[in-house]
């Protein structure tokens, strides 16, 4: 390949610089992390209602639903906070992507089985947020964002790195 062919064209360059824009990455992290914090907080405060929501999908039994309702909200909360503050950014992005894919498959399977149930995603109120194709589209959008974050080389602000001891400046 000739040297000039490796140089990105104008539009390509703009796209690349946009996708690696630190401010944009930070905004997406705050958005995605915020969503997970809100979702986790709602579930953690009423795990009984969340266990009922899980049972409505008719995939697991009461014991496994209760275990999931005990641990999943904490995981959502921790991942959300981690993503916002930049603590373990790779790990929490990976977990968020896995969770989103899992939720989407669950909603799709419930729709295919004709279940008329509430999502249990952000609120446990059975009359709010019923599952539907809109929910799958929403989740797909979130998956695109999380996959993008997963492949971004520099995820921006990382609190762990900022706490690391900076090397002393050489004395002139």
């Amino acid at each position: 390949m000739a040297f000039w062919e490796s140089i990105p064209s104008g539009k390509e360059y703009e796209m690349k610089s946009l996708l690696s824009n630190t401010i944009l990455i930070l905004l997406v992290r705050i958005f995605l992390g915020g969503l997970f914090v809100v979702a986790g907080l709602d579930k953690i405060t009423d795990s009984q209602a969340f266990a009922n929501s899980i049972l409505q999908y008719k995939v697991v039994g009461p014991t496994l639903a209760m275990c999931t309702a005990t641990i999943l909200p904490s995981l959502e909360l921790l991942c959300g906070i981690s993503l916002i503050i930049g603590l373990y950014p790779r790990g929490c992005t990976l977990l968020i992507t896995i969770m989103l894919v899992g939720f989407t498959i669950l909603v799709a399977s419930a729709l295919m089985r004709g279940l008329d149930i509430s999502c249990g995603c952000f609120t446990q109120d059975p009359n709010v947020s019923k599952i539907g194709y809109k929910k799958i589209l929403e989740n797909c959008g979130l998956i695109v964002l999380s996959v993008w974050l997963l492949f971004v080389r520099d995820q921006g602000i990382n609190l762990l790195k900022s706490f690391e001891k900076q090397p002393d400046k050489p004395i002139n």
Binding site: D46, M66, L77, Y88, D116
Partner: protein, 158 residues
Amino acid sequence: MCERELTMRQSLLESLLLIMAAIVLGVTYSFVTKQGFFAKTQSVQTAAPSNIEMISLATAKELFESKNAIFIDARHEFDYEAGHIRGAVNVALKKFDTHLTWLNRISKDKLLIVYCDGAECNSSIELAVKLMESGFTNVKVFFGGWQEWNTAKLPMEK
């Protein structure tokens, strides 16, 4: 080791740490607040308002044989068509408003027995609440629902 492999290892390690932290946090929180796995009562029955009476399979069977009650199936149409208590009518929770016209023709003190899939669903309780809000005074919930009825091989139809 290449950079991609290192990043993957780092991602997995971080994920593992977060999962372990979530387990510790979740278990501790539910232990302290006596929620979730450590809840004293783990039945959804506790979520039912106190003015709604829960009935057992035996009572439901007695009332079915007395023919004095209307059985209402709160499940989705799909489940109802696959099998339901003989004579039961389907009032899917989501379509409650569309059923109000004929429901209002029934005497408000008529005994209504609402059921859904079983102890793992809430829609029977939610429907019972809606019926009571609509003025029905004699609403009971057969909490064991379709699963108990079906297991006991009691009269059913498709």
